[in-house]
Amino acid sequence: MLAVLSVLPGREARAEESCATCHPNVKTEAVEGVHAKDLSCTDCHGGDPTVVTMESHSVAAGYIGKPSRVDIPALCARCHADPNRMKPFGLATDQYAQYQTSGHGVRLAQGDTKTAVCTDCHGTHRMLPPREPTSPTARRNIPETCGRCHSDQALMGAYKMPADQVEKFRHSVHGIALFDEEHPSAPTCATCHGAHGAIALHVGSISMVCGHCHSRTREYFNEGPHRKAADEGKMSECVSCHGYHDIAHPDRTLFDTTCPSCHPPDSPNFATAQKLKTLLSRADEAVETCAADMTRIARLFPTVAHYYPRLQQAKAHFMEALPVQHSLAVDRVDDLTRSARSIAEDVRASVHGVEQEGQLRYVVLGGAWVFILFTAGVAYLYKKERARASIQQEGAERD
């Protein structure tokens, strides 16, 4: 093992390596990766690259073959924890230090070789940086990469850990944002758990993680009475109501399902919750019915498009109330939802006005037909009269 550490990677142009003669597939893989430019086979595996026979596997030349799992992090850290080496590439050098604090690192130090090491996530020879879409560390691929172990029932069972996190995540709001919407800010496993320093989050640390993106919501939460409850450990800031891996798009049924776990249904706190629910529901309904009406009426009377910006304003007020509700400040939520409702109802009235004006057209059509039939009738009668008169005249003339 010490021999490994003494092998200094050569920086000058290397002599043609002999490894590829017997290991051509590996060479092909390696060429595609980022290490190809600066590292050679012997830089990690040791040995004599100038000899084309088995003598290249010379222990004297530092050959270690396939490094054992326990040694891998230190092997990679030889370069990646060295600031001078990483300087030209602008890469951070804390990965190894972080790893040693992670759940994976701690277990590895205890001798567990089934836990993850660098190559499990980054690959071995075909090492691609995270910015490449096919890299196992690309954002969209991270859940799958973590899932290689963490979705393996048998493997996780030994650690008494669940194996459904990736599956749950996939169907969650964040999973949909990451996979379906391809949102560049959507979180991956690493966003919340950390990448190299990955740990299972505890009650105290979760909120700080959610609050990184949902900062306003966190601020509002901190203004409300739940802050104290969270500090006293009676609840977990975000997780108690929203869950963690399987976070669904929150809707107002949350008020009915999560509040009762702490607040009995006849308590004033539960009543506050229901009040919030009612305020938000009413505003949402007002905006939605208005939007539905507009779509319906716009088909015949496109003028209603004129009112879309105003409805958008109503929606904006409603949207603003959503983070505010976490402070449980009923009056603030009331303010915002009332604005939303009144604007939405205003628009709805105007839109119905347009519709009613439009109905007038059918009245006009009815009137037009009355006129047409009346005129046609009169004309017809006139013609008949003339015909009768001329027949009579003919008859009189014949006589």
């Binding site: 015949l300 496109p302 003028t303 057209r361 059918y362 006009v364 059509l365 037009a368 037909w369 047409i372 005129t375 046609a376 004309a379 017809y380 006139y382 013609k383 003339r386």
Partner: protein, 335 residues
């Protein structure tokens, strides 16, 4: 002075039409009235329409939403155009089957054919003016198909399109044709058409077997009143359609997102189907042949009295024409 004016009108007042004419004989006059309607609504639309690629679509919106009765004028113009073309076809078919193109009315038949072609060109050029996705892409696909017809295609593209790919210049050119060139042509030929009818009258229909031949009836009021009723009812139907079915308007034309598989207007479906089935030289010959045949109808059927089998052949050919054309249209639609 007034006596001479009265004299002119007395001659008109005493004008007569044959007694045995049926409803179908009114088609020509009704077509005329609706052509006048199209011209009127068209002129009204011109007041607010803006013939530029940047503003055309927006101006249609203004007409529909802001101008008083704008929606009605546009609806009448749009559906009236379809109605006008339908009436023209029916009028043509009626004239054919009653053989009213025979002497002395041969010239009128040819004038009528020209009128039909002009009216269809009106419809085609007018379609582009809304500058919505359908207008843009259906006109473009028409250009593609026309360019496949040798010689004739190039003439049409140079004359009507100005040779350009679809764009601002083509819009302006179509507009100039639609509101400038074609109206004068149609008015001139219409004048001639009506003059010839005025001069030679409606052809006496063959009386029913054994029926008594009645004397001609006066134009005023019998024909006039029947015409009034026919126009009122047809107008009422047009008004109903205009109010119940808003004229279609898709999103603004986007040169970057093609609308594939656009159907041309219904009256052009048979033509497109024909041009898609045959190509190049054959297509040109087909078109020339077809138009020539139409013009030659009076020359081919000169004698008033024909043996029955020839009359049946005449009817058969007419039926074949109509059915064939409809068949092509339906096939084009289902494609």
């Amino acid at each position: 002075m007034f006596s001479s004016v009265r004299e002119i009108f007395r001659a008109e007042w005493e004008r007569t039409v044959p007694a045995h004419i049926n409803l179908l004989h009114y088609l020509g006059a009704v077509t005329l009235i609706f052509l006048l309607l199209e011209i009127t609504t068209g002129i009204l639309l011109m007041i607010y329409y803006r013939p530029s690629a940047g503003e055309a679509y927006y101006s249609i919106g203004v007409i529909m939403d802001e101008v008083r009765f704008g929606w009605l004028i546009r609806a009448l113009h749009r559906w009236g155009a379809d109605l006008l073309i339908l009436l023209s076809f029916l009028h043509l078919i009626r004239v054919y089957f009653s053989r009213a193109y025979q002497a002395p009315r041969q010239l009128n038949w040819n004038v009528g054919i020209v009128l039909l072609i002009v009216i269809i060109t009106f419809g085609f050029t007018g379609t582009l003016l809304t500058w919505d996705q359908y207008a843009y892409w259906s006109t473009d696909s028409a250009r593609e198909i026309i360019s496949g017809v040798s010689v004739l295609g190039d003439i049409v593209l140079t004359l009507i399109w100005g040779g350009w790919q679809i764009g601002e210049e083509v819009l302006l050119r179509f507009y100039a044709f639609h509101v400038g060139v074609l109206p004068w042509i149609v008015v001139a030929f219409l004048f001639l058409h009506v003059l010839l009818v005025w001069r030679f009258g409606i052809k006496e229909p063959v009386p029913l077997r054994g029926g008594r031949r009645l004397p001609p009836v006066p134009f005023f009021p019998d024909f006039a009143i029947n015409l009034l009723i026919a126009v009122l009812i047809t107008g009422g139907l047009l008004l109903s359609i205009a109010i119940f079915i808003p004229p279609p308007l898709l999103e603004r034309a986007d040169p970057l997102s093609p609308l594939l598989h656009t159907q041309p207007r219904w009256y052009l479906l048979p033509v497109r189907e024909l041009l898609e089935s045959v190509s190049g030289g054959t297509a040109a010959l087909c078109i020339i042949g077809f138009v020539a045949l139409l013009f030659l109808v009076p020359a081919l059927d000169r004698r008033a009295a024909q043996p029955t089998w020839k009359l049946i052949l005449h009817r058969g050919i007419g039926l074949l024409w109509v059915v064939g054309w409809v068949f092509l249209g339906v096939r084009g639609y289902l494609r």
